[in-house]
């Protein structure tokens, strides 16, 4: 038998989860309405498509689409960039920092996180631009 305190905390967590689930569903519903309105307008077809989408996404396959929506929102907020910075700074959590201290060439950059990232991105962009210019020059010669 669960203790009353544990039962209460479990109930609170379940309640919290249900509330947040409802809020998430409302935001997804708003997204569906806005998407269908932009494409089909507010006519009968639009309302029918809205209903089908809402039923399928919010009730039939919510376990899938809820996770996808959370992931989508996190990516929209730029969590991917933060993770890239995070793993550049920490060396991918694999002990790259110690390798670097020991004098070996690790996978982590030895610069300062974001600066190093932008330097590498700049190098890559310059390389791509040079390749594009070479291709253009070859086409011109032909």
């Amino acid at each position: 038998m669960l203790s009353p305190a544990l039962t209460a905390s479990l109930f609170t967590f379940t309640q919290f989860f249900l509330d947040i689930n409802l809020v998430l569903k409302i935001f997804v519903l708003l997204t569906i309405i806005s998407f269908v309105q932009n494409h089909l307008g507010r006519g009968a077809v639009g309302l029918a498509v809205m209903g089908i989408f809402a039923w399928f996404i919010l009730f039939d396959a919510w376990a899938l689409f809820g996770g996808i929506y959370v992931l989508y929102m996190l990516l929209m907020f730029g969590i991917a960039g933060v993770m890239v910075d995070f793993f550049f700074i920490t060396g991918g959590m694999g002990g790259g920092g110690q390798q670097a201290q020991g004098g070996e060439e690790g996978h982590e950059p030895h610069g300062h996180g974001g600066g190093e990232l932008s330097r590498k991105a700049g190098q890559m962009a310059a390389h791509k631009a040079a390749q594009a210019m070479q291709r253009g020059a070859m086409r011109f010669r032909r």
């Binding site: 708003l30 730029g78 920092g97 300062h112």
Partner: protein, 105 residues
């Protein structure tokens, strides 16, 4: 724990500290609490109106969202809102970079 482990822990602690800051401020300064709640009401209503336009549905959905986000879970909403703003302006990268380079040197 090695040096990388420490950096990871400190970066996570940094984010947790930033997430805890808005509820702390709201608890200490009641005026900040009220101001944040008013701000959130306006933000939620304008978001819903942006999606649905003017109408009864806008008021109903805004009411439900305001009840949950402003009344029931105001502290959580404050944390998430501040983190979202920081992520939006790219400040999270600065935090990761700052804490990481500070600990490495």
């Amino acid at each position: 724990m090695n040096q990388n482990g420490n950096i990871i822990v400190f970066i996570i602690l940094g984010f947790v500290a930033i997430a805890l800051l808005p509820p702390l401020i709201m608890k200490i300064f009641p005026l900040a609490d009220i101001l944040f709640r008013i701000l959130m009401v306006f933000i939620i209503f304008s978001i819903v109106r942006g999606y649905l336009g003017e109408g009864l549905m806008t008021w109903i959905i805004s009411g439900v969202l305001i009840y949950f986000l402003v009344w029931k879970y105001a502290y959580l909403t404050a944390s998430v809102y501040v983190l979202q703003i920081l992520l939006g302006v790219g400040f999270a990268s600065v935090i990761v970079w700052g804490i990481g380079t500070r600990l490495r040197s």
